[in-house]
Symmetry: C2
């Protein structure tokens, strides 16, 4: 075997993922050396607090960012700080100083990816970001390399473990939304403030990164329409099941010609679809490529070791190949973000009285929205409420919203109507 | 953008996959150039019959293998002949002449992989083989690169599209085995002689390649125990469904310490398992890695364009990186091939008469095989046959086979008992 190649790694940030990375490298250094010919060594880490005790020896700690990129012989810098600043400034500075960068920071790439990738390409430095979307799943590698022969026109999936865990609990354990959220928080799959996850913001950031890679477009997360899961009830879950569906939080991207349909929303998925069995905190992404047809990747979307595994795969690839070009972003002009027609599941809470279905279906008919299935739940419930559930035929979201906004004017409604797309 | 790098490709064999490869390159040459900086060009192909008309211009045809590796400026040779010889001799010769090789030939690698990979490593030439297992699914890339940080202790999945298509038809359309096979043949998913697929030989070759990659061991396909799907009946499918399972043809590999459990056999998979929804000709492979935990890849396991897509991804990677080392095979001694205990589904066809369950369960009890569920189908069937179905608790295959071989001695049995492992 030839002389091992030493790879000196510097960390920006030394929290959960950083600890996992150092742990993997220190425990498996010999195995990695044998497998790859690379002697990996985390030499220095930027931390906020030097006095905080850390379990890993051999890693010098500093509070001065320039120690990472200026004075040390560091080959690859791994950014694990999260957030936009100072991560953005430091990553750009590292690239300018000739370092390759690996990052697990989806927000950074979703908001500043264009600047970062262009800077890297100009300086012929690599930016590895396998860990930024769907943790341990080698999705970026598959898009960037495995599917290089393909035009990708469709990519969708479950990219947020928190919402998938909550929805799985609702389905499996018959819990209401709040109870399922509480269980997710207790199990460590939801933050104390779950807003970014349950509202779809986290998924929209991931979708922005994936759309850049799959479609070659620059989209910012706030351009992507989001619908959260907060208003879903156990009754919605049950209604979906009765119709042969499971409700999943979906990030969805489809390119047709010059128009793009990007959105994040809860969606009714048929039981027979491979995504239907993706439960708990797992992630899965479906891709349609021009040559390979349908493909799916499934796995852990987060967590210390799955994420560190993804970071390590980038480190090894960059150490072996030097500059690894990304799929080149065509920067094509998007004429418009459009949404396709689809079927919708609608739930309307009304006073429990005769004629409810009739009144609503008549209203839908007025707007030329065709109904495939309608049911009224006549069981008396709290406050003598009733519930009408409707499955429409294909309809544009615009037309549907128009009808629903009129229904919302009715004085005796108990809550806003809920509309969920059917896959 | 820097000067494009021209990549001259020679083909050994110009059948279905070769046509797909040339088709993709000729139709997308500009797009690939823009995306990768590589100008791909298939310059020459070895064929058996020069007079056979081909639709693709610009590719010189020859019947002389040495034209591919000797006289031409070919950078990468793609072997698409299939079979063991002359593929083995030609691939080795190409490596010795300094060519990188890409192959879609699983049989070649399963039987001669050790020789080929060692020759390639010694000469610092790459052997790309993404297309050899599971067609368009980037499984090799994921094992070799995406999961480089992981020890893999478990890999299993649906790696044969023919048997999955047949079993899906039996489940979905309530067809018997022979009828489902006939439909698969009509749809082009089964060969006129389906033996290699339905008996498990094809899957065993793929498993041998995967085991080499995942576990670093050299196993030959004929060392892997195989059970075919030929004896499965619609009744077995129905019984499995009643118990909450779907029957899938599984290639299974598990490493524990120095012992390996490798096998190919139909298996009862719980409905909630992600593999349960992998239908028709699709493939899917589950992997457990030490850092990433569970992961699954799903997609088309065969076909002109999915396979050509995989070949192209190898060509691009080799053109970019030159010598791409494979996971180094540790060549560790396997102390023994063992099989784990598991639950089993047993079906025994007997004359339809009282006491059948009792007689069989008593016999199982004698061998200390614990039964979790037993049922006799008392409906009269052709020839007044009855059927006993049993679900056991965990039992070693050896102990079970001993009991079943005794039961086989009974004079009034209608056929050999059938035993299918439960996942």
């Amino acid at each position: 075997m030839s002389q091992p190649q030493t790879v000196k790694i510097g960390l920006l940030g030394f929290g959960n993922i950083g600890a996992g990375l150092v742990d993997l490298i220190q425990q498996n250094r010999q195995a990695y050396l044998q497998r790859t010919g690379l002697d990996l060594d985390v030499t220095i880490a930027l931390v906020r607090d030097l006095s905080k005790s850390r379990l890993y020896g051999g890693v010098e700690l500093t509070t001065n960012p320039s120690d990472i990129y200026q004075f040390r012989h560091v080959d690859i810098v791994v950014e694990l700080m999260g957030g936009l600043e100072p991560a953005r400034t430091l990553v750009l500075e590292c690239l300018r100083r000739g370092k390759h960068v690996v990052t697990a920071n989806k927000s950074l790439l979703a908001w500043h990816g264009k600047e970062i990738f262009r800077t890297a390409a100009r300086l012929k430095r690599s930016v590895g970001f396998e860990a930024s979307v769907c943790g341990g799943i080698p999705l970026i590698r598959v898009l960037n390399s495995g599917l290089i022969a393909n035009e990708i026109d469709l990519i969708y999936g479950i990219v947020n473990g928190t919402t998938n865990y909550i929805l799985s609990k609702m389905h499996q354990d018959r819990l209401g939304y709040k109870q399922a959220l509480a269980e997710a928080q207790e199990a460590g799959f939801a933050e104390p403030n779950p807003h970014n996850d349950v509202s779809g913001i986290d998924a929209a950031e991931k979708l922005a990164v994936l759309a850049g890679l799959a479609f070659g477009v620059d989209v910012l997360p706030n351009q992507i329409p989001c619908q959260g899961i907060e208003r879903l009830t156990l009754e919605d879950i049950r209604s979906a099941e009765e119709m042969g569906y499971v409700i999943k939080m979906l990030a969805y991207g489809k390119q047709s010609g010059r128009s793009l349909d990007l959105r994040v929303q809860p969606t009714l998925i048929p039981n027979s679809h491979p995504l239907a069995n993706v439960a708990n905190e797992n992630n899965a992404v479906f891709i349609h490529g021009s040559a390979v047809s349908d493909m799916m990747l499934y796995g852990k979307g987060a967590g210390r070791y799955p994420t560190a595994s993804a970071v390590l795969s980038d480190i090894v690839e960059i150490a072996r190949s030097g500059f690894v070009p990304s799929r080149i972003n065509d920067n094509q002009y998007i004429s418009k973000l459009t949404t396709q027609k689809s079927r919708f599941y609608i739930r309307i809470d009304i006073p429990d009285r005769p004629g409810a279905i009739g009144k609503i279906t008549t209203h839908f008919g007025k707007h030329k929205i065709s109904i495939s299935h309608a049911a009224a739940d006549l069981v008396k419930r709290t406050g003598s409420r009733g519930r009408v559930t409707i499955l429409t035929h294909d309809v544009s979201e615009k037309r549907l919203q128009k009808a629903l906004s009129e229904i919302e004017q009715w004085p005796d409604l108990h809550s806003h109507p809920l509309a969920i797309r059917v896959f």
